[in-house]
Symmetry: C2
DNA sequence: CGCAAGACCGTACACCATACGGAGAATGTA
DNA sequence: TACATTCTCCGTATGGTGTACGGTCTTGCG
């Protein structure tokens, strides 16, 4: 029921798995041929998480999808924690890293939009504690590419790290809101009105305008504009513009 | 094992529980006196989550701490999902909302620092999907207070919503990094060197400077400056300054 | 007093990750 | 060719989870 987090397994085993394609697979193994593969396991796991959320991701479900019995999955992957590392690195390599374009603003936008797309495609990423991301090839390539977007501006190395962390980190806010709104939209249909009918008495008693004058006004404005509580895509564009302007100002003063 | 998320229970029951203090408790119940209380359950849950993480939070653990048997907890709270809503609203009311001070910058800093403190005190908050926060009294009061920080600047209602979402959302990035670094520091001690010794061969093979020139340089600079991979507190101050500057620029142009 | 509501909880079910050890297959070596 | 080794696959079991269901007993109301 809880925190998924990266970086929990025995680190050397995890590192080997992450870099398995570059390190070269072990050759000449003795036992019977494997019926499946690490890549197949990771693919199956990502598919399950994409379709049904990270809650539905279990070793049993993966085994089922691969035509194996539960315990056989452990032949490919040491455990659930390591598997999640592999999933994170895998999806980090899904989108090609485009050539970094003209202005600073454009380059930072590229960095942010790549993260935005990734989150929308794989919402389970946001349910995972990726504060210490796995040092896999795709995550590493991506980080190098992001830093290149702000190379040569006169920023200190430390500032560079902080700028990218800020831009990438900001994205999670609106991305969370986006997938949440989508989920709600898909689930709701007619129960929406029911919900309001049932709760209106309580809400009226609670949300009196004397106590919440501004929230009330803002909430109503948002509701009228969008027909929903929020427009996360717009929030993404808005926030991104603000963040980039803040960074531009800093670069101008410090660079 | 997974996503905790708010807003999952039967909504009217949850709303009643959230607002239980303002709505007035039900009077003259018939059965035996309750041995515990909703507040005690929520307190116990928060203590467990604070001490041992959200993973360790289970209905059984709560029951144990209250001297009840597991199923009795369900007399107070409909289920785990609703309990988490109650926990979130409870900790949102822990810090008093200070008088909002002078400049826009100062007021936005107050908003951000309140969130920062809350995350550091209750790291499990970051393992929870609070994209749709529970509409409890403390969360609502806090939201109203945050909006008040930017009231009267000439921003549209929608912009106000987006600005606060941006400021509050930004905090999670460095806050995650902070508690993660702390956890690591507590757990590590001597195993740090061991880890490096074991993994140095792989890392050298992997992290060759041709492939990762900038990451390599930046990582080394950070390591030398902090003796650690990052300084999240500094990242918080840095990011906050950038975000606020971006917002100030927007207010100046749009207000 | 008697009834009904409600607190407490025993039991059970369906999940979960994963430790352990065994069966059998494929290979390297003698 | 024969054997030892190694590795895959998996049966079984342990200890955890949330919570549905129904029973027992306490308590206050009519």
């Amino acid at each position: 029921m809880s925190t998924e987090s990266t970086g929990r397994g025995e680190p050397d085993r995890t590192l080997h798995l992450l870099w398995r394609h570059r390190l070269g697979e072990p050759v000449g193994s003795r036992g019977p041929k494997q019926r499946s593969s690490v890549d197949a396991v990771v693919d199956a796991a990502i598919e399950i998480a994409d379709d049904e959320g990270i809650d539905a991701l279990s070793m049993r479900r993966i085994a089922e999808r691969l035509g194996l019995k539960p315990m056989s999955v452990y032949t490919y992957v040491p455990g659930r924690a390591e598997l999640i590392d592999l999933m994170v690195d895998r999806v980090a390599g899904e989108q090609p890293l485009p050539e970094l374009g003209g202005s600073l603003r454009e380059r930072l936008e590229q960095v942010a939009r790549l993260a935005w797309n990734e989150y929308l495609r794989h919402p389970w990423l946001m349910s995972i504690d990726t504060s210490r991301p796995p040092l896999g090839p795709n995550v590493s390539d991506r980080w190098e590419w992001s830093l290149r977007a702000i190379e040569g501006l006169g920023l200190s190395d430390l500032d560079m790290d902080q700028v990218i962390t800020l831009v990438v980190g900001f994205v999670t806010g609106p991305a969370r809101a986006y997938v949440d709104a989508e989920r709600l939209h898909r689930a709701a249909t007619e129960s929406d009105e029911e919900w309001w009918a049932r709760n209106a008495p309580i809400l009226e008693q609670i949300m009196d305008p004397d106590r919440y004058p501004i929230s009330g006004r803002v909430g109503q404005a948002a509701g009228e504009e969008y027909g929903a509580a929020a427009d996360p895509e717009r929030a993404f564009e808005f926030g991104l513009a603000r963040v980039i302007e803040g960074i531009e100002a800093y670069v101008a003063s410090a660079g």
